[in-house]
Symmetry: C2
Subunit: 725 residues, 2 copies
């Protein structure tokens, strides 16, 4: 890729960014758009505009984001979001501190080495200006390589130091959140799975209650058996659907009562497929009829579910946080595959359908999913390699000579060369997360937040393996097939050889990501358009309008691997082509700023895992560092530097660092430390409320309708304990 193409790409991206920023400033001032630009504040009952005035400085949001404290983030969006900002800040810190040293030293060292003709450049014969700034410009075994070798050490040490501080900080955040004097239902419950078969003459509920009563005679409150809610959920969803339709029909009917038509028109619909075929009926009557039929059906199904569809797992409630925290990490049964306990996740993020899976079922599913994911990762590599090889213009011209006429036109070729591969890649990556989330849930994971973490992990390995390594090596393999001049025999060598060729590709990729990606993120153009379209043509009721602007959460499952990919790319090129560092810094700096705004004003977090995300982020940053160190080892080898073995201690240090951090900090993220759980509550503890918050919505009405019945079906032994408040 030529330098001009690179500049064109950068320029275009920047123009797009400026336009999007302008749009944001203009659109976000209109009150009609408040629900798109301030939904989090609106849902929390706050005034969208803090100062009350709409005629502010267009850059006020930047000031607000910069001035917001970590506590603001936690109160508006939870600990998980705060941890995400610790992650962004950590990565930013690593890049800034590395860059401060690397840029002023390595660039002059590289550029002043005039003695060597480059052979590691993609530009067919012509020297690119960018290549002069890279390590490829330094001749083999030059003593100038010492500077680069020391730089590798500097980047590694900076990473260790900043990661260590960050882990401590996140551990503090988690502790403060868990010590909070506010009652959080999940801190009083544990999830018990793999309950052994019911002994003769006992019910499941008696079995569970007597088991925990005997172990925790003072602190056991009561238990809630997990039931198979598939059927009852289906009926409940159907019922809710008709209720919504009824409200909508009534709203439509009310609206049709204009002055000219005081009777209005009763809305009608067809009963067949998608409302397109079948009998035409009066919507209001039809819905009322359906609801009347479904309510008793739901009630009887609720009874059946509570009585007969009990599974081998339960939620057990304690009247003390310490006891619950201790119970969640103690081995209760002699044989590990029975009475398995864990901390309960938040009520609304429990995946009920996974709770009934047995120990061996879960283990088996886990390995099967790992296998499927490994296959997915490996087989996607082939198409990606082809795409990246095909979409470099030179290759296109070689392979499809008839395109020459179009491609050789200056303008067309510049634009194509600048965007074609990157866009292909970005579109391609958008397909996968849903599949990975589905696979993660299929593992039998009991909570949404855990499933999201698992998805994020899988997606990270996918992106690094396929996008970074795949594109890099894929391109080289393709050109090697054509020319056959090098014979790199190991994957590390292959990667090291290929890296410099792809520097500009990734530089453009990063720039596209932050200018266009974050521009779209901040301006929220897509949700805005969708909202206005829906509001105008589809929504009839307030509920429907609210659904149309619901902002969703930050989307860790795809956001984190995306960031990690940029970080991995920046890190791996940080010494080879230090010019990439400012791009990485802008990506994470802009990201921090814009997401701070989004977290405070837009996104609504859908779960709280008290920072359990962090160990995963930490491990993945270290995995990137390891990849970087191994790659550098290979690249120095290719540069025939005599002192390359001096880099060997680095990967070993990283592994030791990983081990020590895991040993020292991870325990507290796996379970709640008792010294944290023992802090006192400020409010009165209402155990009844804690218990009720875990009842799934499809069963909640059963409890209202027939309280005694529900109590009876869920727990009986606990009656006396219920007085402990």
């Amino acid at each position: 890729m030529q330098f001009s193409a690179f500049l064109t790409s950068l320029g275009t991206s920047f123009v797009i960014f400026v336009v999007l920023m302008f749009l944001f400033t203009w659109l976000s001032r209109k009150p009609a758009n408040d629900v798109i630009y301030y939904p989090n504040r609106i849902l929390k009952g706050l005034d969208p505009w803090e100062g009350g005035s709409r005629t502010r400085n267009p850059f006020a949001w930047i000031k607000e984001a910069l001035n917001s404290s970590e506590d603001d983030v936690i109160s508006m969006s939870g600990v998980d979001t705060a941890v995400y900002f610790v992650y962004t800040a950590t990565v930013l810190g690593i890049l800034v501190v590395s860059g401060i040293v690397l840029l002023p030293t390595l660039l002059p060292v590289a550029i002043t080495d005039h003695t060597v003709k480059l052979d590691n450049t993609t530009s067919n014969g012509t020297f690119s200006d960018l290549d002069k700034l890279s390590m490829g410009h330094v001749k083999a075994n030059s003593s100038r390589l010492w500077a680069f070798l020391i730089a590798v050490y500097w980047v590694s040490l900076v990473t260790y130091y900043i990661l260590w501080k960050a882990y401590k900080h996140v551990s503090d955040l988690r502790a403060v959140a868990l010590m909070s004097p506010v009652v959080k239902p999940e801190q009083f419950a544990i999830l018990v799975r793999d309950i052994p078969p019911i002994p003769d003459g006992e019910t499941r509920k008696e079995q569970v209650d007597s088991y925990f009563q005997s172990i925790y005679p003072d602190k056991f409150y009561r238990s809630m058996l997990v039931t198979n809610n598939k059927e009852v959920n289906k009926i409940w969803k159907e019922l809710e659907g008709y209720r919504k339709k009824l409200v909508r029909a009534e709203a439509v009917y009310a609206k049709s009562k204009t002055v000219g038509n005081p009777e209005g028109t009763r809305p009608t619909n067809r009963t067949g497929f998608l409302g397109l075929v079948g009998e035409k009926v009066d919507s209001i009557e039809y819905c009322n009829e359906k609801i009347d039929k479904l309510v008793p059906k739901l009630e009887s199904e609720q009874k059946v579910t509570l009585r007969e569809k009990q599974q081998c797992s339960a939620l057990v409630f304690f009247t003390s946080r310490v006891t619950a925290a201790s119970a969640a990490q103690s081995q209760h049964a002699r044989i590990v595959d029975t009475w398995t306990v864990m901390e309960s996740p938040e009520p609304h993020q429990l995946i009920w359908s996974n709770l009934s899976l047995g120990f061996y079922g879960r283990e088996t599913r886990k390995y099967v999913v790992y296998f499927v994911v490994a296959l997915t990762i490996l087989f996607y590599m082939i198409p990606i390699g082809f795409i990246s090889a095909l979409t470099t213009l030179a290759n296109l011209r070689k392979l499809l000579p008839f395109l020459k006429v179009v491609v050789d036109k200056k303008v067309v070729s510049t634009v194509l060369e600048a965007y074609l591969p990157q866009i292909a890649l970005i579109v391609f990556l958008a397909l996968l997360p849903k599949l990975l989330l589905f696979l993660s849930k299929a593992e039998g994971i009991p909570s949404e937040s855990h499933a999201v973490r698992a998805t994020s992990g899988k997606y990270f390995y996918f992106t690094v393996l396929n996008v970074f390594i795949g594109v890099t090596i894929g391109g080289t393999l393709f050109s090697t097939l054509k020319t056959i001049e090098h014979h790199p025999n190991t994957i590390v060598n292959l990667l090291a050889t290929s890296l410099p060729d792809n520097a500009t590709f990734f530089l453009t990729f990063v720039a596209l990501k932050f200018f266009v990606g974050y521009g779209l993120e901040l301006s929220r153009l897509v949700p805005l358009i969708i909202y206005h379209l829906k509001k105008k043509y589809l929504c009839k009721t307030d509920g429907e309008i609210k659904e149309a602007w619901e902002p969703g959460d930050l989307g860790y499952a795809t956001r984190v691997p995306g960031d990690m990919l940029i970080f991995t790319i920046t890190l791996c090129y940080s010494v080879i082509a230090p010019i990439i560092i400012p791009f990485g810094v802008v990506y994470f700096g802009l990201g921090w700023l814009i997401l701070r705004n989004q977290a405070l004003k837009v996104y609504v977090s859908s779960f709280e895992s008290y920072g359990r995300m962090w160990p995963h982020l930490h491990t993945r940053i270290l995995a990137s560092l390891l990849l970087y160190q191994v790659t550098m080892l290979g690249y120095f080898g290719i540069k025939k530097f005599d002192y390359t073995p001096l880099l060997i201690p680095l990967p070993i240090m990283s592994l030791i660092f990983m081990f020590v951090c895991r040993k020292k900090f991870y325990g507290f993220f796996r379970c709640t430390a008792l010294e944290v759980a023992c802090h006192e509550l400020k409010e009165t503890l209402n155990m009844e409320q804690v218990f009720r918050s875990f009842i799934p919505p499809s069963l909640a009405s059963a409890e209202k309708l027939d309280n005694d019945q529900f109590e009876d079906a869920l727990s009986e032994v606990s009656r006396p304990a219920a007085s402990v408040v």
Copy 2:
């Protein structure tokens, strides 16, 4: 080695065994020897002869051993001993069930293959009868090898099945022991290490008490700080020494008052080195003087120790077993390297000097010790290899021709050939255990039983690597150096090639071990002689006599690896030369019988770890099985059997089996399951007594002398809780 040499060795061993048995029958009937043959019964206050009559059948002990139940063993010698018998029975079971199938099938298959000239025999040119019974007698790639291949599967499957049953059984044993309604002090205490630095304005004791008081407000009883007892132990030992000397001097003086000399002779001693030099003084006066001086010194040192020598660890007591069991397995602190908790071992097996080591000190020591042990194992290999190579007679004659005259004499050569290598080996092995126990304690392990387990593990790998693999390969390497005809390139191949050559060596080794080893074990000749010599010439007081006959414990640290070596040898030869199986069966059968007698009547177990030994035994049996499977893979390869790859699934199966067992059963051996700990106690719980049982003897008198002081120094906050009984 020739067949006659083998028979001679076997015959001699058997004669020695018969003689020792006769000696046992004769000696154990004499009442004067009761303390040697029945010390365990005497110490437990039982009648040495159950029936009361001494004129019994000389084989009555066999009947008694066979009739004794597991409960008898547990009540006389504890769960650990019972677990040892489970181990013996398991191994015996594996060998018997394997032998029943292997002997009647493999021996005929091997012996009827007349078509091949042996090349894998040590007998220089002459065919040995034993070799005809082995797999070496079957020609390469013969279809007869199918029988041997199926045999390898049979042995493996039998091992899995029996091990699975045994793990379940031991888990039950442990559960029953831990559920016992008898108060065991260690079940109410936890050991807390790595307590962080004391906050300002608090004492260590206040820090510990307030920490646990806040987490366990209801169940915390009090804490005992671990102190540095080095100085106080020294003074206490000196004091106890002089007290013993005083008792002895008084006994000597009293004895000297005969009718002829009614005044008696006051005993004297010299104050210098070993009582050989220095001033001559009156012993009684001298001792009294010393004791008078030491008592106040001890008292002041006790105060100093309790006040000023507090370490960063403590024992924390709870008023409930469940709370203690739960506390021992919960994470208390956010950072894992502070407030580390574990179940408390029995009071008397705590290694106080190791309790003050910090987290990183322990980790570092562990790895240093592993490194030292690895070095030891590797460097011992060289001398052992030489010994085994040199001590085969043929080699001796080759290397030292001047010995020919002696060695060629029939009688000398037969005896020498039979015993020389085995005796060299046995003596050699006696040197190591002390060093390994020292190293294990240096790891910072907090209890004796754990140190013994760690020693046993190290010794196992030592014996298997050095004795079995070392001797086998060493011999071959030596002969290969002389002849250079094979070039086996991998260690597995080398081992497989060498195995048949050493079959008779190991056959003799096993026979020697069981006939002579168990003969000496049962007859207790050495302790008997030492006891009678001591009693006659050294002991003057009852205390000294008791010390002279104290039987000690079973000595797992050396006994288990010894047994494991025999098992490994038998297993590895079970298919190659199935004739070894009966020898293994006799070894473990005889061992079971004789040790049952010793456990019931002789040895006194010095600690109780509730069967924690088992996971170690289990892993080691599986390690042997793995070695066997890999070796067989190599040996079938050498036999050029086309279907050798069919053996590849076996090692994989073993690893999966190991993983599943670990996952399923190990948790309960690492910590007490709560469902087990929650069983109710039958006796009244006296927490004061529980607490006191942990006070080390050198500090115990401080408590008697100055109860308030001690209380004060140990715990203050706990006063109100002390009323909970």
